[in-house]
Symmetry: C2
């Protein structure tokens, strides 16, 4: 059809909504093999972990690590390690080239797909990791964003973490993913568009107004410190959905300060400790929403934040197709439930 090889990943644009998707055929798999079973790739059995120390040669060579002095690249001695994804959804070795096929738009699957191994320990969650280690993870996320934004044609760096196989994690060892994209994701575009309209009308950042409202209502807040607020959004789509947001207006995660990283590590640990105490070791998706790399005017109206979506319901239902969500747990009830765990913990500690 054009000069895209069948195996290479490809970006395609929906002609109606303008949404881009990645078509990343899995070369080794025939469609027959995926019918009725999970599409998640469990490339290693449970007793062998490619992300554990000593198995560094199981991953592509590291692009970043924080490690002890006098230890070698791609050997033990690291506490945070970033490697290219072995099964990338996008590749940087292809040109960033758009083409038309009739009314359809496509693009070579240009981009970067990396894995951030968050700890040498196989089982540690955000609730168990020391805040100092969470800080190291947050710095590595920032460092890679700084690096990827230098690449030509990278318009957005998407940082996310799937925890638990129900939420899409194919490997148990705690890790995040960093994707450098030649396009801005739809949900971020929706937020940019809404926030921009609000700013035009009110000359204020809608996220700053949300923070004020949440601080005044107090019914949806689950954790707070000097720099950050963790709350359950007023119009939560999912039970126990939460949002972590910097109190000070900032558009870009890369502009995070040292004090903010310290406070962010604390609020992440606090939030996930509450989840653990209230609900157990639940699967979840955790993702950064930050302004696109090149739009300096977003400084006025966009406010970076982290979305956390616990995967408590076994189904997605019709929401995919309609964009219409039914949430059976009100955010106020969810926040109250989490805060009860906090109060119980405090009472125990006293």
């Amino acid at each position: 059809m054009n000069n895209v090889t069948p195996e290479a990943p490809e970006l395609r644009k929906d002609p109606v909504t303008g949404r881009w998707v990645i078509i990343a055929r899995e070369r080794a798999k025939r469609p027959q093999q995926i019918s009725g079973i999970s599409l998640v790739k469990h490339s290693h059995s449970n007793d062998f972990c490619p992300f554990c120390p000593g198995h560094e040669n199981e991953t592509p060579p590291e692009v970043l690590s924080y490690r002890s002095p006098n230890t070698q690249k791609d050997s033990e001695g690291w506490w945070v390690r970033v490697v290219p994804n072995k099964y990338p959804a996008l590749i940087s070795s292809t040109p960033c080239k758009k083409s038309a096929h009739g009314i359809y738009d496509r693009m070579n699957g240009y981009g970067v797909h990396e894995v951030l191994i968050e700890s040498p320990h196989h089982c540690h969650t955000f609730a168990e990791l020391p805040t100092t280690q969470i800080q190291e993870i947050l710095w590595a996320m920032r460092d890679r964003t700084v690096e990827l934004r230098k690449l030509p044609n990278i318009k957005y760096v998407l940082i996310f973490k799937n925890w638990g196989s129900e939420a899409g994690a194919s490997i148990e060892h705690p890790h995040s993913q960093i994707i450098g994209l030649p396009v801005v994701p739809m949900r971020v575009m929706d937020e940019l568009s809404g926030a921009s309209k609000y700013f035009e009308f009110k000359e204020r950042c809608v996220f700053c107004d949300i923070i004020q409202q949440e601080l005044s209502d107090k019914t949806r807040i689950v954790a707070e410190n000097d720099s950050f607020l963790a709350y359950m959004p007023f119009a939560s789509r999912f039970p126990y959905e939460s949002c972590i947001i910097p109190k000070e207006h900032t558009s870009y995660y890369v502009d995070v300060t040292k004090n903010q990283v310290n406070d962010l590590s604390t609020i992440i640990k606090d939030l996930f400790s509450l989840y653990k105490q209230s609900l157990g070791n639940i699967p979840y998706n955790f993702m950064f929403h930050t302004a696109p790399l090149s739009k300096s005017e977003t400084n006025n109206y966009y406010h970076w934040h982290i979305e956390v979506i616990p995967k408590l319901s076994t189904v997605a239902g019709f929401e995919w197709g309609s964009g219409f969500h039914i949430n059976v747990v009100a955010p106020e009830d969810a926040a109250k439930h989490l805060c009860e765990a906090k109060d119980a913990k405090t009472a125990l500690d006293d």
Copy 2:
């Protein structure tokens, strides 16, 4: 906070994106009871089905049925039956009233939520039902839409079917759901907005152009007859996602003609027979996208269709939060796989 009782369903608007969600607290359930387990309500054990003939008193009184002459309402003798949902996400007995809470917008959970019982038989799928029965289902969907659009403040009628517990079906017996909404769902809004822009630019319906392109490419079509086309969208978000669309430009499903209903029943049976032959009895979501009830100008640019999303992957992943999808099965490969089943069937029949 306002005059909404805590138990009543409520609509809430996301202040950034404008997306409405339904917060429908489940009265009988404490948050503790949903932790770590499915949120799907299995209100009846497998051996008792509230939708089977003889159990008509297990549902609220029927609002529509197609039944044999001389049989009583809410008794046996029906072949299609529509009843109010026993656990409605929205209720019509509340006023359709918007209110502000600071920067947030909310609305009473006004609306209608009905269940369409598709057959007296407990296990029949679209692949097994006679096309005449599928026609009856399609007419009942239309009849209820005609009825619900008469209600004040109903802006959209959403018709969908969840098949299989993995796709959100809480009761095994084949059924669809009909929701009358006081707002238009986000995904439909996105399509309306994109289709409207395309029309402004090209003075053509984007869906009509897609049909032409699909008929010319031939690589993504899985079924076709005089009135309808079933194809796998160019920018499919999910493996084996498909779309059924009338070849003739029509904005509203309620304007469907008798010949079209006949052809629609055939293409539905064809499509789901192919799914079954290729992939087995897979769980899926099936939903109508039609123009909103009140916007007559959409006649020019919006084209109703049905979206089918098989639930083959066990996870939603980070797509919820980013709107960015990675699809590991190209639609051309999926279409080829389904058509191989058709060819094998034809060879067998010969």
